[in-house]
Amino acid sequence: MRRRRPSESVNIIVCVKQIPDPETPAASFKVDEAAKKVIPAQGIAPVVNPFDPQATEAALRLRDAAGEGKVTVISLGPDSARDAIKHALAMGADEGVLLNDPSFEGIDNFQTAVALAKAIQKIGAFDLILMGRSAADWDMGVVPAGVGQLLGVPVVTVAKAIERNGGAVKVDRVLDDGFQTVETPLPAVVSVSNEFGEPRYPQLRQIMLAAKKTVQVWGAADIGMAADELGASGRWLPLDALYVPKVESNVEIIEGETPEEKARNLAQKLRAAKLI
């Protein structure tokens, strides 16, 4: 485990993911049930997971508040995931690392957490690891906990505000019915929720600078992962089936002599269908 460095300088690692655009029209969303894969929608570019720019925004604010430090962005994915890293660089992040290897194809959240943890160990000293609260494609939300467990550092999830306090961070968490404030020593993993607020739009100048930055590309061997740990065969969570549920609609006119009778009949039918 890497310990926090003594200065006020802050080293933050942000994990971002490129996903199919969640606003892809239903008609364009297709699944290959035999291959258990989502078929990329024609003409609709993948996007950065919507929670991830908020994690980047949190990192940039903490770095800027410290006055010095570094924000390193990691993404695991295909070559196109470089765009997700470039977006974070255009927002103001300092360095980017793409984890790209054919053996990463089809891996699950646990394998992803292992790969990210190994990449973070390779990067070296860090104070804080930030991620979006979940990825909007699979929506498991377990990678932050997995990375924290593997690195042996505390994990705080669903943050709406993060404030650094010397060697610790105070985090306001979002609950179903309110908020919770916790404090944890650094280093730590924090997942960031949409309640954190709007991320900044990249400035044109930053986009130009980001384009000139080199994104390092690490394969499985670079982070010390063996083939048997990876691929679909190495999944901790084997995928049994992937399908789009059939949605059937039916219209039924509720009969009745009076409005009251119609309402009663409607209520009985809803109750019979266990909808109320």
Binding site: Y201, P202, R205
Partner: protein
Amino acid sequence: MARDFAADILDPIAGEIVTNVGRWVDREVKPQASEFEHADVYPDPLVKGMSEMGLFGIKIPERYGGLDLSFECYAGVCMELARGWMSLAGIINTHVLVGYTISEYGTEEQRQKFLPRLVEPEIRCALTITEPDAGSDAQAIKTTARRDGDDYVINGQKMWVTNGQRAGVYLALTKTDPTAEPRHRGMSAFLVEPGIAGFSVGKKFDKLGYKGVETTELSFDDARVPASALLGGKEGSGFQHVMSGLEVGRINVAGRGVGLAQAAFDDAIRYAQVRVAFGRPIIEHQAQQIRLAEMATKIRAARLLTFDAARKKDSGVRSDLDAGMAKLFATEMCQEVVLDAMRIHGGVSYSKELPLERYYRDAPLMVIAEGTSDIQKIVIARALQREYPV
């Protein structure tokens, strides 16, 4: 969701910039454009957002603190702004046009004085050519600038001044020699700063569309400016300088036509797939298929023509032919596509609840402004004559 056309066509950095502007437009502009437009309110928060992204410095040279991006990139940005609200591309137009004219034709003193202030921007720009009795015939202007010692004294009226109330510098076309023949040899442009005696901003026009941004009259009544305000420091080149600047303006307006047409098309193709008539979505009716195909083809052609004109301007050569063709085709196309989008929507398009009525009111501005379609045809014909000598 609109397809990301810019990324298909532009170089990676320009594509990334245009894509980011497009994201901003989708999130910040489209949801509130009609509200600003119907109230005819200047969109301060949106202009602030444009400023924070750095759009106002897009064409200012790097040595004066700007980004010095290509006209191709600028054209893409104009398309995206207009896809959200045409007026936003108008707000940036005169700023970029005047900044370009200063950087190309201004003295070093003028560049150093103004260009760094246009980046943030600390000041905004306006262009003043048109007068009550001179529009398409720009050489017929009556505003004069008479040398008087170390100063010039300007007298005259100007019309249709975009950014008229908010500009910190006005590029004003005048006649320093009203008797010169040909007439353009007696024309000179001045960089006029507001606040001087004899200079006043007149009424704000109530317009059919192009709302939010103010369009005003200007009046010069013995307005005295220092000789250092003469663009380039030399009399008689003003018409040429302003016409070169207008090539930039025509690329902007062509881009606006493409962006507005794209917005109308995006709405139309979405609606055509959900609106059912005669038992099936109307997109399955051949009449609508043909209409949508023609719309998309014309938009694509206008987009490529506009980028082609921008590339020509980037190469540093005269591009009146190319900018004229792009402006002519894109703006006429825009009017047709907007009306076609209304035909696809039917009666609901006539309601203020949808943005189509705004598109319909905004489209004609582009056919007229920055040189009417008829003027573009004359510009194109003259350029063709130059290219085909006998």
